[in-house]
């Protein structure tokens, strides 16, 4: 395959960025999207041009590191992570536009790499269950209704990639936030801190510069783990309860 790439190049956070075009030949449809970029980078290195910086790690769709806007869509045209996208999703002669995640709360560090540490700070605000090591009761001491356990698992599969934010016209992280609130809120272990958690995490979310949710639904459409939109309803419901009862 012959491919033209339009890629956002930005040397660092302080400099201005711009789109650059690159031509690639002999791309196999068996390559993953990131392997295609590896080929580009080998070429650039040979030509003495700084390779394109992009984030990736497990390349198995589970670590959540990869983060590319491909033709305006987070992780590209398929419902999966960028690392699991393959070149067979494109056609010979295609032009592909590649940009970093777009959100004020995710500043660009270099080229296609953004800073997502705001997500860690949201978790620090309450995205955990307070239990010290070694003080846990026997695992069978607190049964969990299977339906709730399954629901908790379904939403705990969020990989914190940030696609929901990048896809949202408001730059909101409500899907990420709702997934964590729902995961911990479904379990008996999560009840004691349930209402303080939601208040604190939402406050941190807003403080980081993420936008508000207006139920557009782009987040769930872009989510590679198919986190459902109703976690945001759960988030709002818990927040209302918390505000009514004063945490």
């Amino acid at each position: 395959m012959r491919i033209t790439l339009n890629i956002w190049r930005q040397p660092n956070a302080a400099s201005a960025g711009a789109m650059h075009a690159y031509e690639l030949d002999e791309i196999s449809e068996d390559m993953s999207f990131l392997e295609m970029l590896d080929v580009l980078n080998e070429n650039l290195n040979e030509q003495g041009e700084d390779p394109v910086a992009f984030d990736s790690d497990c390349r198995e769709g589970i670590c959540g590191t990869c983060s590319l806007m491909i033709n305006g869509e987070a992780h590209g045209p398929e419902v999966t992570t960028t690392c699991q996208l393959h070149m067979r999703s494109f056609k010979d002669g295609d032009t592909i536009t590649i940009e970093p995640w777009r959100a004020e709360a995710f500043p660009v560090l270099k080229d296609l790499i953004v800073d997502r540490s705001a997500f860690d700070r949201i978790i620090q605000a309450g995205g955990y269950i307070s239990v010290n090591t070694g003080s846990a009761p026997d695992a069978h001491a607190a049964p969990v209704e299977k339906k709730k356990a399954d629901r908790a698992f379904d939403v705990a599969t969020c990989i914190s990639c940030g696609a929901c934010v990048a896809a949202c016209p408001n730059g909101s992280a409500s899907l990420f936030l709702g997934a964590k609130i729902t995961h911990l809120g479904e379990l008996p272990q999560g009840q004691p801190e349930r209402y303080s958690r939601v208040v604190d995490m939402v406050a941190q979310h807003d403080h980081e510069g993420f936008g508000g949710c207006t139920n557009i639904g782009e987040c769930t459409a872009a989510c590679p783990k198919e986190i459902p939109l109703d976690v945001i309803s759960q988030l709002n419901k818990d927040l209302r309860t918390a505000l009514k009862q004063g945490r």
Binding site: P11, S28, D30, M31, S32, L34, E35, D38, V39, E42, N45, E46, G48, E49, D50, A53, D55, S56, D57, C58, R59, E60, I62, C63, T65, T80, Q84, H86, L109, K110, R116, S117, F119, D120, Q124, A125, G127, Y128, I129, V131, T133, G134, S135, A136, P137, D138, A139, H140, A142, P143, V144, K146, A149, D150, F153, A156, T157, I159, S160, G190
Partner: protein, 683 residues
Amino acid sequence: MASITDPSHTTALNSPPVQVSDDARGYYTLGEPLVDPVAPTGPIQNRWTQRQFDNRLVNPANRRKLEVIMVGTGLAGGAAAATLGEAGYNVKSFCYQDSPRRAHSIAAQGGINAAKNYKEDGDSTFRLFYDTVKGGDYRSRESNVYRLAEVSANIIDQCVAQGVPFAREYGGLLDNRSFGGVQVSRTFYARGQTGQQLLIGAYQAMERQVAAGTVKQYTRHEMLEVVIVEGKARGIIARDMVTGEVETHLADVVVLATGGYGNVFFLSTNAMGSNVTAAWRAHRKGAYMANPCYTQIHPTCIPVTGDHQSKLTLMSESLRNDGRIWVPKNAADCEKHPSEIPEEDRDYYLERIYPSFGNLVPRDIASRQAKNMCDEGRGVGPAVKELAEDGTERWVRRGVYLDFADAIARMGRATVETKYGNLFDMYARITGEDPYSTPMRIYPAVHYVMGGLWVDYHLQSNIPGLFVTGEANFSDHGANRLGASALMQGLADGYFVLPNTIRDYLADGPFEKLDESHPDVVAAKADVEHRIATFLSINGTRSADSYHKELGRIMWEYCGMERSEAGLKKAIGMIQELKKDFWSNLKVLGTADSLNQSLEKAGRTADFIELGELMCIDALNRRESCGGHFRAESQTEDGEALRHDDEFAYVAAWEWGGEDGQPVLHKEDLIYTAIEMKQRSYK
């Protein structure tokens, strides 16, 4: 089982090995034997309890004055940082990823073992201990494995309390399944994403401590050197991967929880960034590297398709429960579509060779037989270019069929979809083929390593103050061939073992305040800066990646599943050539004071090359088939793996011999008192 009472004082059930064969003569020098100076004694079931009591305490007011550096944030590092933070120590946590939650533990699929006996199927601490020692081919320490089995039950309690959503039954209680070669149901799991859920539990516990101020988190930082002052580890030199700044961090103790080095093979199931640098820099500063050649090969990965490939993807081993593995009987059929190959022309080779275990033989056997089939020219799928035994290049098809046609006919497609749907989808996405209608193609791949820095019972390396946990140390489970063990050790080390052993060391602290201007600290930092400057100044023609790829091909051909004396010697020569070329012909663009991924790769590749050479020397020395590796010179009459307990029942701990010197081998004898060694058989 008579030994369960008191095997302590302790008649060894085996005698210390006496090595006769010495294939590696000329490649190493023999050092003093090694003993674990803190190995426990007494009845095996009391050893850990007694040790926790004997280890000295640090009172809470003093803990605030003590500083711990934790490198790595996977199951071992994340759990340990959280636990030490809770206890009140000052922890500085480092990872190269953009968030601690992305450590590669997250990719583990299958499950985590624990001797809970919730199924009342006869499980016990002793049985988990026994299975693990046996599964590790009797190349692990008894005391460590017993401790692992003992704390396994606490791990599940801890994780459930954190909100880890393990699979549950309708009654609300936890579900279990059984896993590779084990007859009890002791594996706890969260669908195919157990590692992810366990890691998020540890990560959240750690973030809680970040909020509490006991843990300080440094992301996008790579440790490039360990600081040793007066014989003790006192800090690290790390590079801020965004600004390029080379930073000095000092502490009372340093813990490495930096994972495994399977990426030495270039293609593996490891994350792209997983590397050996932290461990290797410590090795060069005097820490022993133990059993570096032990690699676990996983039999069910998606095969390589071409030169461009950057990594391999694992398909859960559970597929072997229902899939049937075959290759064409005639090499001439390999290019045909599988549907054109009639039943009588298919060779269900595992069922044929191992009628009692069939497709469920252990990982090493399934892997090796797949290799044999492809070596015979009966592999399927695209041919790939690889190194041949004689060092030339060859084209080989590296794939065997994993066929669900019978399972679909027996259970119906719907049932197969429920059981394995997500794996089938993943396969279809990567290969572009529909596994419901065309058999999957699989091939073994490097999964994880059991070698690592040598540690004593307290997880302390031979350098005082340098502790090593999880996959980064040499594993508790020896030459392991089982699943669901690595997660268990990571969390056991992180939550329960290290926090209890490190306090005995820290009871001597706080150590004398150290200044950044101390000559040893200055020298360590200068070394790092010099090394970075060297990479940038070579100005040759080849990228670090291209060297890494070449190293990987050498390692896989000669130090992978099957090894031979001639092959390993050849590999050592090739690696030495590669190393010379690397240092004269490397090309790294960009600058030191910026985010520079080429520079990061150069440093890691340089260390992988040196490690690769040591792995080959270790493999050359170990003239026995053990764990996942088949040593051509050591096989039974019918071609099965043959261990030599009389010669090799020891831990091979290698000391860095200097830039131009030879590595020094220290042997730690493995003495069994509770379990008698047995030869394995899967016929």
